[in-house]
Symmetry: C2
Subunit: 133 residues, 2 copies
């Protein structure tokens, strides 16, 4: 599914994010219907390619807020740079170490059974499976 300008606007509003120029522009780059795993540098490059003028700090601000609002998922596979995943449904990842690249694994491709019992008073925030290849 592809988002048009109206969709982007309402997507942000729905998540209580003020639809400013930069946010709409970055959301437009990211939520085009295809699943992506982007770094901050990727977004800066994508923005440049589309003549979107912005700054490093604003890209960080925007991606961090999108992640905090549940519009993006932050993925930590290596120390150093962070990846942001536009696929919000449950799934897992291949990590291509030599290419420093992520690829989705459908959630039903792996069958996980019998999660261990949690420490007292804890609840699961996420279950991340990363297959390094």
């Amino acid at each position: 599914m592809k988002h048009d300008t109206t969709d982007i606007q309402s997507l942000l509003s729905k998540h209580d994010i003020r639809p400013t120029q930069i946010r709409k522009a970055i959301a437009g780059l990211l939520f085009d219907g295809s699943d992506k795993h982007v770094t901050v540098d990727d977004v800066i490059e994508m923005a440049r390619g589309q003549q979107i003028k912005t700054s490093v700090a604003s890209v960080y601000n925007t991606l961090n807020q999108f992640a905090a609002s549940g519009l993006l998922r932050r993925v930590s596979v290596e120390q150093g740079r962070a990846f942001f995943d536009t696929n919000l449904s449950a799934h897992h990842h291949f990590y291509f170490e030599d290419e420093e690249r992520l690829e989705d694994i459908p959630v039903d491709a792996i069958n996980i059974q019998g999660l261990p019992k949690l420490p007292k008073g804890r609840r699961i925030k996420s279950v991340d499976v990363t297959i390094r290849i």
Copy 2:
């Protein structure tokens, strides 16, 4: 099992690591028989507590080499700092987000079935399951 001084020395030799003072000292801190998840700062603090005089750079050098030689496993659960795991056998992790702390999950506590087929010409380097709580 607890390593004595002789064990430490032969552990390093066995992995083709020259048993220098610093390396023996850090290995002694880490390989005492109990599984640990340490950051560089943890090791620096542990060393200070044992009157081991060293430097930040040497701790990095040492931990990096131990990891490269298969004496430690590097774990990436958050961008920024790296964790080094002394437990080399297959297992998974709880990550306590508020405490920034790892805890082992025995490998047989989780049953993973039906790994997806790999991209051509790839082999699995590791399967990491992290349960964030």
